[in-house]
Symmetry: C2
Subunit: 331 residues, 2 copies
């Protein structure tokens, strides 16, 4: 690992989560597909919010959650993403900085308000997400500072960045800067429907351009359009330097060339809300990997980080994740 100031530069949509409980009938009535993320416009956001129960607001965004997790583990991390200069934007900035993440992307001073994600948590602890991207569409390549990218060991980006067209350009800009400086580029596939929307581009990326890929079972199957997890596994082994594939309560599989590790999920007393499970797995894995832990131990730190996130409402850690490291011998 090269000598750098930061462990991870995370780039993603800067979103405030609006979390409420809902029953299955609510999802059916509003035609929402359980467990997935759907993009909505301002009018739909307003309509759904009007029908949503009492909610709590908490900073979110996939890569933002991962950045928070890395900082909570004690890692050094920066976040790049776009908010508006409004109350929700101030909340997002406060929360990510308060957990110890550098966040210097200037807020948009006009245009759409800060993004929000309406999250409906059903009694089975699944989350169904409806995202209004708002100010996220204002993230452009100009927000990517090569000096920042090159100060980090890994540039980690969420697949959701492909939704706002300018942010997609920023993604490629950042990947170029990172590779020019021999840094690693990491991608999370984010969501099976996100993979559907950008399958060809993601396949091209994964094949040769991504060093560390995160995906859950549905996403990796969608990427290769196969029915069985194992088929996807065999594909991705050939395409990608490291792939970390998560399988919910069945744990994770890490493949890197000839190396394969199968790691169990960490125990959780009660699963309350699965929002952020994948984000925090990525956080733990990237923390471990950038601190010299083995692939298997990195995955175990990821699993333990995810376990904390799903034991309460909201995706970001409520208790410092550093305590997880006590059970792992120093790398």
């Amino acid at each position: 690992m090269t000598n750098t100031e930061l462990d991870v530069i995370a780039i993603g949509n800067a979103i405030v989560d609006v979390v409420a409980q809902a029953d299955d009938d609510f999802l059916i009535k509003h035609d929402l597909s359980k467990g997935t993320m759907t993009l909505i416009d301002a009018a739909m956001a307003e309509k759904l919010y009007d029908n949503m129960g009492p909610a709590l607001e908490v900073s979110g965004g996939s890569a933002g959650n991962s950045a928070a997790g890395i900082a909570s583990l004690g890692g050094k991390c920066a976040f790049i993403g776009k908010v508006r200069n409004d109350q929700l934007g101030d909340i997002f900035r406060h929360d990510i900085q308060a957990i110890g993440v550098n966040f210097d992307t200037p807020a948009a001073t006009d245009g759409d308000p800060t993004a929000r994600c309406l999250i409906f948590v059903t009694p089975d602890a699944q989350r169904t997400m409806q995202t209004y991207l708002g100010a996220c569409t204002d993230l452009t390549p100009a927000d990517i500072d090569p000096a920042v990218i090159q100060s980090g060991k890994v540039t980690y980006m969420e697949g959701y960045l492909f939704d706002p067209p300018e942010a997609k350009k920023a993604f490629f800009t950042a990947a170029d800067y990172a590779h020019q400086a021999d840094r690693l580029v990491s991608l999370s596939l984010s969501d099976p429907f996100c993979v559907d929307r950008y399958r060809d581009e993601f396949r091209d990326l994964v094949k040769g351009h991504i060093d560390i890929l995160f995906a859950n079972e549905e996403e990796i199957k969608s990427l290769y359009q196969v029915d069985h997890f194992d088929d996807a596994l065999q594909h991705v082994r050939k395409d990608c330097k490291i792939a970390a594939l998560t399988r919910g309560p069945s744990g994770a599989v890490i493949v890197s060339g000839e190396e394969v590790h199968v790691v169990g999920a960490a125990p959780v007393e009660k699963v309350v809300d699965t929002t952020g499970a994948g984000d925090l797995f990525a956080a733990g894995f990237l923390y471990g990997y950038t601190h010299g832990y083995s692939l298997a131990d990195s995955a175990r730190i990821g699993a333990a980080s995810a376990a904390e996130a799903i034991s309460h409402f909201g995706a970001r850690p409520e208790t410092p994740l550093k305590t997880i490291l006590e059970t792992f011998p120093q790398a």
Copy 2:
């Protein structure tokens, strides 16, 4: 009880809570008095927020929490309070309406932003509150509609209304309208320091003008400037038609003339955050009282409502309180 459309009209400061964990050292460093509410200005709010950990935002306000609790129990309730037309104001309005409370007070279109209360929850589950009143100072007697007041059996007001001067006038206006129509007037003393600030006025009020008084042990001792709970109890019996005095884990004492009831606290598996305990006790008691339950059963419904509130972060109920009523025979 007269025939009315609504059970309770709750009037209070319309506040969004900003909740974060903090340790005792944080309170000491920032000179915060544990377990109490302090008023702060915009500059102090900004300074404290800058130093606060990652937070979650959830609608609050003492009487607002009580209104939400009454609605969650199935009661009919309206709330009167002032927000600004900003994102936090929209959140406040959404949440209180979503739980089933009527809330028609127009938002201020200029002036200070929506009020927020920075709540620091220490590991002992105590909450220390720092409130920036913002738009609450714009609540005036003009916001009190006599028809609304007279449509409710009880007008319930928080003592915190005495802090913004115009809101205090609105308090007396509402009390007058209520009594003119033979409705009941209820007051929560809110906080021992709030009692300190307005002791003489509160004493005058309680003596003859308040039908149902809510206070915890510290507040009622502060009101009468006595060292022992029992001394305060003997005072308030003479002053007030009904006094519901809460004592945290020691339960509650209800006094009404010759009638005295001592009711235990409801069991809680783990106390997470005591924010809202008093507000939800008042909610349960007022629901019971306006639905013909005995004073003792009303207090038990209050205790069970408070128990739900303190078992999670945030003051408003996460699970519908209606289920509490299953264990109480219909009044």
